[in-house]
Symmetry: C2
Subunit: 333 residues, 2 copies
Amino acid sequence: MAITLKEVAERAGVSRSAVSRTFTDGASVSEKMRRKVEKAARDLGYSPNALASSLTTGRTKLIGLISNNFHNPIFLQVFDLFTRGLQDRGLRPLLVNLSDETDPEASVRMLRQYSVDGAVVASSTLSPEFAKAFRDAGVPVVHSFGRHSSTPQVHVVGIDNVECGRMAARTLVERGYKRIGFLGGPQNATSTQDRFSGFMSELEKVRGLTLSHSFAEAYSFNAGRAEMMRLLGSKPAEAYFCGDDVLSIGVLSAISESGLSVPGDIGLIGLNDMEMAGWQNIDLTTIHQPIRQIVNSSIELMVAMLDEPDRYPEARIFPCSIVERGTLRPLGF
Amino acid sequence: MAITLKEVAERAGVSRSAVSRTFTDGASVSEKMRRKVEKAARDLGYSPNALASSLTTGRTKLIGLISNNFHNPIFLQVFDLFTRGLQDRGLRPLLVNLSDETDPEASVRMLRQYSVDGAVVASSTLSPEFAKAFRDAGVPVVHSFGRHSSTPQVHVVGIDNVECGRMAARTLVERGYKRIGFLGGPQNATSTQDRFSGFMSELEKVRGLTLSHSFAEAYSFNAGRAEMMRLLGSKPAEAYFCGDDVLSIGVLSAISESGLSVPGDIGLIGLNDMEMAGWQNIDLTTIHQPIRQIVNSSIELMVAMLDEPDRYPEARIFPCSIVERGTLRPLGF
DNA sequence: ATTTACTTTGCAACCGGTTGCAAAAATACT
DNA sequence: AGTATTTTTGCAACCGGTTGCAAAGTAAAT
């Protein structure tokens, strides 16, 4: 079906090596030869088979892009940035949806069968061990949005979720809230755990507060809404730090449905600063996570690792910042 | 680095063919041989190189998944469904983000270099010609969410956008709206054109209406909001058919910001029935597009085409239906 | 015009598998 | 037991490329 190198060589009346060389940059080919080969290739509509060449070069330019988060709209942006960034560098994302199974071995095996040059794990919920399985199998890996550790086993690019928790705590205290709640995402997500621990550790330093916490079943609108509905059944807190924006939006919906107002009756702060948080009918005060920077840095790291597979693992942590909108009462009440 | 067939063969003391056969189902291998080889393979941690075998078998199990719509949250669901569906059938999605360039040739070339077994074009804005470029290059292709044509050149799975336009028109007329507007997505998107033509052709049959139309710059919240803001500058229509839900939500935001109410002052009907449309603080009346069915059918079609590449092109059109929520005044005013 | 140095080219082996074919082994039939 | 049939196995060529090496060709230096 497809044209092969051999056919081009025959048509141009040269050896197969010559053809190969004209399509390999850095190889030694005279101008004359190159023109002859290119002409023949053009006539025949030849384009080299990347997979065949990967066999000898050991590079496929395929990068596994692994995620289990196909329900949080913010990940659409993440995929957009990753795919474009990788493409711009001549790399091809092989997408792996982990929503059903979370067995690292199966993914590792599959990606090794396709000889990916590297793997990006884009998930704030998977454990560092997951990413480590790739490293152990000799596949360069970057864990984006992963848990920050002082002794990282794999490259991690993301934010300091513990610090974000503290930041949210300080903000709520500053606004004079006394009865404060944590409404997190799934309890087994590393990001939830870290945000929770940072949030609580900061609040425990302050006297005279009433603290509560609960967890939604997923990072999704419906889960947030359901959990808030439940909380509204008994006496809710004055303000909540919500695990994530999409959760917050569900929470807002529950609050407004029950006839209460934000921030009049209940204050709310989210995390992510997704596009929707800025929509006028939502107007959510939240903590901005620099998605773009995280993705770009992840890609740069991945590219660096292709040349230097045993690069010493590092954690790249980007600062977050509060974006003030309309769901918290103002300073100095 | 990785273990090869040859090493397994040596350890098991058999020929390379024998090893190959134990990993190819349907091949003739005795039980004894199989056990011996599997043992050696397990000891060594061998897993076959899918790309090397693709060289002789001509199958990579790679499927190009091409889209240019990374800003509409509905596509996150589309990607979720596609990736899982393909994975479940042992196929691997190679994701191509077309946001920057729309040159079919470049994508075709790239996907041919990776010898994909097929390509899915998931886009409601790309023209049929785009998908046809794959077919012409001998790559089996399915255009999901593509333009419906009575003489399809490639397999298309989606909805009848013209009919959706008509449906929206009938609904608005039925509710007694007289000044009616079309607020579409980008004018060069095939889905916009078809919805527009259906909508208008139906309305032109009715006497005594005042019609208007305009187009947002993209299928996005901000574009919808901006366009509605502009329309609110002069005298807006009584009701709008909006190109898409995400656009509608932007429109809602603009309306509420300008102090008007929905459906009191302005009625609105969207298209897609994305999850968000059902959120209580949005509550958008819209036309449901059966995403899941479209994706599943696309995958089935693709799988069928892998066995029968020259399958006669067909169009699979799924019916849409109105989902009544709170943005149109009720019947019988 | 030679010799020397560098560039370009083709040969042939290899990457990690698959597969048609014939020999070898196992099984079935007289 | 010997022969016919079926199953299992290995050989060797092939898939579509790359690359080390030596031969051939060019250019520079003497």
